[in-house]
């Protein structure tokens, strides 16, 4: 295959215009001892039918939740997505456009970013959101770095062990390079104790980062944790599942300074981990410490309403080594999917969707807990769409048997994170798991 359109005749005319005899002559700017004349080992180019067949063979080696009922969550969730989302995002004017640095040629994308920011702020109770960040894990570290810039002389960060394990891993990696101490708070009965946060004490704490519902599905007391953070002079960072905000309080109303999370479940497939998108929202007092793109409304010289990228002096292309972040690429197309998704569900549809998740998850939990040896790991704690069960045999064995005998992809085996938790099973139930699937799961687990 080639996507080059130049013909031999074109090439000859172009070379003549340049005044050289061949493309090789143009390539002579590469010094002789740097030139490569070998074979890259990619092989011959494949035509469309050939590459399609090859890729189908690879796709068929995956066992995807599309063809198998799945109760796997642990930070990535599938939800119903209206067909119109696919149709609209398939418009080439969206997916083949560049970053909207030229506002007159990009009002479409800019307006959707403005809408996305509004969506995120209305869900989270914040005042400003950016155009998206890489994912949920990097959203938390960006929130932490925002806090390190905002809180004077800070060099410590407190984080709950209820954060997604990848988020904790990312915090460790980033913070090591800027000499910031990371203090991890253990969970008690599945939740982060606010007293333990307060007890850290001392000076220089930039932020307290928690996740709610946390990695074990447990709903944290965001208000108490934010108060504990503020007691230390720190910012309260709350990572949330945006879909939980259909029925759960906006963290902004509970004292959070930064609300962030993985937004992929809104209108996007999990894609084996990416591309999805992260979101990051905060209060206006922190806007100049925000990383990444922000769209804002203004007018043109005739007074027409217009949307532009704003507060650009924060960004790397202007501030270079003094920028708030090195981020340049956003996850624009995924954020656009989320914006259209949320608009189509609307105020009431979004709440209904949340209640479907809540209801089905509780139905499934109740039914599974009636099976001998199964019980909620944290019976006193609330959950939204995912819950942790104690199991009578290792979760890994249950999962293997479910897939082999029933074609069901089971919940997450927490033993993969911590061998001591090998009898703990994290089960996610969303609107894509209908009653028939849930009943089949319960029956299958009961028959093991």
């Amino acid at each position: 295959m080639t996507y080059v359109q130049n013909t031999d005749e074109d090439r000859a005319e172009m070379l003549a215009a340049i005044g050289v005899a061949s493309v090789d002559e143009l390539m002579e700017v590469i010094p002789p001892d740097c030139r490569f004349t070998g074979d890259l080992g990619v092989g011959r180019g494949l035509t469309e039918p050939e590459i399609t067949r090859h890729m189908r063979e690879l796709a068929d080696k995956n066992i995807a939740p599309d063809s198998h009922p799945s109760f796997l969550g642990a930070g990535a969730y599938r939800h119903f997505c209206p067909s119109l989302v696919d149709n609209l995002v398939a418009r080439t004017e969206f997916w083949t456009a560049y970053t909207p640095y030229q506002p007159e040629a990009s009002q479409g994308t800019l307006t959707t970013i403005y809408e996305f920011q509004t969506l995120i702020c209305r869900l989270t109770g914040m005042e400003v959101a950016n155009a998206s960040v890489y994912d949920g894990a990097t959203a938390v570290i960006e929130g932490v770095m925002l806090s390190l810039r905002s809180v004077r002389k800070s060099n410590r960060v407190i984080a709950s062990r209820g954060l997604h394990p990848d988020t904790i891993a990312v915090l460790k990696t980033y913070l090591r390079h800027i000499d910031v101490e990371l203090v991890l708070i253990d969970l008690v009965d599945g939740a982060t104790p606010a007293e333990a946060v307060a007890a850290v004490g001392g000076e220089g704490v930039a932020a307290v980062a928690v996740q709610s519902p946390n990695f074990h599905g447990v709903i944290e007391d965001v208000g108490a944790l934010s108060e504990a953070a503020h007691g230390l002079g720190a910012k309260s960072i709350v990572s949330v599942d945006p879909i939980s905000l259909s029925v759960m309080e906006a963290p902004g109303k509970l004292g959070a300074d930064v609300v962030c999370g993985e937004g992929t479940g809104m209108g996007n497939e999990p894609w084996y981990g990416g591309p999805g998108f992260g979101f990051l929202a905060t209060l206006m007092e922190n806007v100049r410490q925000m990383p990444a793109r922000i769209a804002g409304e203004t007018t043109d010289h005739d007074g027409n309403r217009a949307v532009v990228l704003t507060f650009q002096t924060r960004e790397q292309h202007i501030r270079r080594s003094k920028a708030t972040s090195n981020i340049c690429t956003s996850q624009q197309l995924m954020a656009l999917r989320a914006t259209i998704w949320a608009s189509l569900l609307g105020k009431h549809g979004f709440e209904e969707l949340g209640r479907v998740n809540l209801s089905r998850a509780h139905y499934a939990a109740d039914a599974l807990c009636k099976l001998p040896g199964f019980e909620l790991a944290f019976p006193g704690q609330g959950f939204f769409k995912e819950f942790c069960l104690k199991t009578p045999k290792p979760a890994a064995e249950i999962n293997a048997a479910l897939l082999e005998q029933h074609g069901i992809i089971g919940g997450f085996d927490l033993g993969r994170i911590d061998p001591a938790l090998d009898h703990h099973w994290l089960v996610a139930v969303t609107d894509v798991n209908d009653k028939q699937e849930i009943d089949a799961l319960v029956a299958a687990v009961g028959a093991l």
């Binding site: 172009m14 050289v20 143009l26 002579e28 740097c34 890259l40 080992g41 990619v42 011959r44 180019g45 890729m55 189908r56 796709a59 080696k61 995807a64 939740p65 642990a74 930070g75 990535a76 149709n87 080439t92 004017e93 083949t96 560049y98 007159e104 509004t118 209305r122 894990a137 990848d166 990696t173 800027i178 007391d221 029925v247 759960m248 309080e249 497939e269 999990p270 894609w271 990416g274 806007v287 203004t298 007018t299 027409n304 309403r305 292309h317 270079r320 920028a323 340049c328 956003s330 624009q332 197309l333 949320a342 608009s343 105020k347 549809g349 209904e352 209640r355 209801s359 997450f412 609107d431």
Partner: protein, 495 residues
Amino acid sequence: MTTTEAPTTCSTVSAADLPLTIFEKSKTGRRGVRPPPAEVPDVDPASVLPKHALRADLAELPEVGELDAMRHYTALSTLNFAISNAFYPLGSCTMKYNPLVNERVAALPGFGPLHPMQSDDQAQGALELFWRLEKILASIAGLDAVSLHPTAGAHGELTALMCMRKYLDENGGAHKKVILIPDSAHGTNPASCTMTGFTTRELKSNARGRVDMDSLEAVLGDDVAGLMITNPSTLGLFEPNIKLICEKIHGVGGLVYMDGANMNAILGRTRPGDFGVDVMHYNLHKTFSQPHGGGGPGAGPIAVTSKLAPYLPVPKVEKDGDRFRIVRSAEHSIGTTRGFLGNFGVVVRSYTYIRSLGDEGLKRVADNAVLNANYLRAKLGKSYRVWVDESCMHEFVATAKGLPNGIKATDIAKRLIDYGIHPPTIYFPLIVPEALMVEPTETESKETLDNFVRAMEAIRAECDDDPEMLKHAPHTRSIGRPDEVAAVKNPRVIV
């Protein structure tokens, strides 16, 4: 395509035409798409959630019908320039054709729904794709190992700098803190250094836009951890002394990082590993046709020599016989820099693209990217000053400095929009005043390039004949030049 005369009058926009956001089109009681019924007993949140977690007020999402939502977003899309409707000679961004076969393949049901927490056994096809693309990217780079973990070019920089830090720390270079960066570099380079605890020292370019070797000598020292260099540079120039530069950095115990944003120019013609680079990143959304999506997603894989390979991030993919598995911890690894393995959907598209082209096709990319850029340089050089007017690679930089009547680069850029052409990158690289950075890519036809040249020549004439009209361009879009100062002074960042 044939238009070389652009309209100069703005269509009248009345107040009623002002584009409203979807939130402002909301009407109480209107419904769009409905979620499925619960089918199980409805659970009242108040009965199962802690009181403090109960939402008091529903989020004010829009209440719109499906048809109006369709029209709203369709209308918005038409306000965009995109590869599908306009030539995009946007320097440094490699706005090439995004093949549709990539999209069709990515839509296979075995890809999108695949869950990142599934066991390796259930994701053999995905892991094989990661592994295959890693091998190809290593070969193109002439380097030994690749990580597809980083999410974007700047994220690749960050991840790679962390690998460099750890390698130096464990090999007697803990005192090395300085990264040298040419003054023509992308802004992400110094920003990434700051985020990884390095300090930066700027390297001056010489009059020909290359690294000034005296300037390099002057800053070399034992504190130098490495060099971040873009080659070909942001001026579209191949660095003739690249081998010597790499040797000098190695001579003080430093590492050479290459920003691979401009790999499109050299695919199969030269390999960074062969001229002394230790570590580099790719932008799959530039070189390997992942669509830009209005700003993302992308992916920024890094390639390294064998001595840096142990430091690559986890998770990473390994081949074990004929099976593939994820390695989640490794003794020397820097750790994790994002959630999950990587941007798999981007891997699918770029792998499809590379296999579609094959060895010969990849070389054809480089050859025609360089041919198209030089053709434009030769043609445009007659009406505009090219900053370093010698054989370029995939792009070149012209300047609007010295144009009559106070015409700026931004005026040229805005006026091009009226001719249906996306502006070049402007005011970058910073070392060229009033820069107009032009990258046509290999996928544009000669007719498109000629049309661009005619438009630029027409605009050059307008600089003399109608400068005021130019200063108020564009005249043909839904908006004229927006007031960006007001957007900061009176911020309105949500509806």
